[in-house]
């Protein structure tokens, strides 16, 4: 069954949605959209590093995404003006990555695969990496769910309940870096943040509780992956952007439904 590239692509999309649903909900709740962008854009630099040093792509992107996420989190803790700082970091990392990648022989031709994903060429090994990473992120978030949610609502309340907001923030940072490393193959560095935010935003209007929103975001993400793949097959459109287009369509419908209620 896994011999069919389309099946592998569908499984990759569904596996990734397991992580992006709950993580994307936190990104929306905590207004970390730009944070996600910065981390995802840095992944291009990771690709360049991995290609230049013959390391596995996943390792390179994970390392650089982690470094970027840690940098951003560190600056945030020191009270930097985050909007500007993240804008500088996100775009600098992307530009630096694009420049760096031009020095790697042969990589230029594959550039769009890193920017927009190449879900149709997912291998069995990729699939293992995606599902492993997705399970790791989901597991982390489920394990820390109550503490993460309390911290998101109010760091003071979390503190008073004996929780450590810094630690919960670190867990989200970690989860974000792993998700970026896993997602780059599926939707590419430019659209990872979209896959985090759009399904969660679409789920918001239809949910009454945080858990409902996270689960619905998983379902919308998975459904969008399948619909995007179908669109891609049918109209020969690029798969990664097609997935985001499908998610955006769900968002539009959900916003309409939520307004009518």
């Amino acid at each position: 069954m896994l011999d069919d590239f389309l099946i592998r692509a569908a499984l990759a999309g569904v596996g990734l949605s397991l992580a992006t649903g709950p993580l994307g909900s936190f990104v929306v709740w905590r207004r970390m959209a730009y944070f996600g962008d910065a981390t995802a854009h840095a992944a291009i630099l990771g690709v360049a590093l991995a290609l230049a040093t013959d390391l596995p792509l996943g390792l390179g992107t994970l390392a650089v995404a982690l470094a970027m996420a840690a940098t951003v989190a560190g600056l945030a803790a020191r009270g930097w003006a985050m909007d500007t700082t993240l804008g500088v970091l996100a775009h600098s990392a992307l530009a630096l990555g694009l420049v760096a990648i031009s020095f790697v022989p042969g990589a230029r031709t594959d550039l769009s695969a890193y920017l927009f994903g190449d879900i149709l060429s997912v291998t069995r090994a990729d699939l293992g990496f995606i599902w492993g990473g997705g399970a790791l992120v989901t597991g982390l978030l489920v394990w820390r769910w109550q503490a993460l949610l309390t911290t998101t609502l109010s760091e003071d309340l979390a503190h008073a309940s004996g929780l450590k907001p810094d630690r919960e923030r670190l867990i989200l940072t970690l989860a974000l870096a792993v998700t970026v490393a896993v997602a780059i193959k599926v939707v590419g560095a430019l659209l990872i943040a979209a896959l985090l935010i759009i399904p969660a935003a679409a789920a918001r209007g239809l949910s009454r509780n945080p858990e409902g929103m996270a689960v619905l975001a998983v379902l919308i993400g998975a459904g969008s992956s399948l619909a995007g793949l179908a669109l891609s097959m049918w109209q020969d459109t690029p798969a990664g952007p097609s997935i985001i287009v499908a998610a955006a369509a769900v968002f539009a419908v959900s916003a309409g439904v939520a307004r009518r209620r």
Binding site: W29, T150, D156, A160, A201, N209
Partner: protein
Amino acid sequence: MTALRTEPLIAAEHLCVRYGASEVLHDVSLAVRPGEIVTILGPNGSGKSTLLRALLGIVAAHAGRVMRAPGLRLGYVPQRLAIDPSLPITVRRFLSLPVRVPHAAALSALTRAGLPEVADRQMTALSGGQLQRVLLARALLCDPQLLILDEPTQGLDQPGEAAFYRLIEEVRQATGVAVLMVSHDLHVVMAASDRVICLNGHICCEGTPQVVSTAPEYRALFGLGTQGALALYQHVHDHTHGDHSPGADGHAHGHSHAPRTAQPADHSDA
């Protein structure tokens, strides 16, 4: 008092807190014992919230220390809770954070806080007074020995405020919980407290409401002759308005808190 022990539930000893170079709290010592209601009074910027945050361990002490009774169960009601509209959450779900509580316990806490019918409402749909009561209900769920409230009636109108303090008193009667709260609001608080601590970077004076309200340090902060920074408070001091004279200076006794409270801009409406 319901409790026989007189060991403090929470205490600060010679606590100093700094933000950068400025010392917000200097040599503050206090203790809260079982069953008592203690109110910290002080003008804006006097370090009231910082003191609570230091007691809760949110900000670190620069010097001195905070002691808690072993295994202290503490309920905290923050000054406000701004929930991002992107986060859907019902009152019932909110009460189960961070520890999941049985439905019956959640409902009885809401009933005690005077809101038996809001369990299924969205947190973002509550009025200011309802939100404060929900925060109180959540704080009561751990069966606390000590409640810490940071200006819990901010944003409530006068009747709402009076009702909230009555509720605190009722809860104390029913459960014997000790209460430590912060306020910049005098008259309701005075009536509701066993002990008042007057704070302005350091402890100016403390004691029963009657003792504190006649202390010169207290008057310097809230009463006679300090129209400038404290014009806001005058409405609660009708009894002192008769002897207003331009020359009366409450700071004459030499307290060093004048520069903090008497910002030049604040004199404009004096």
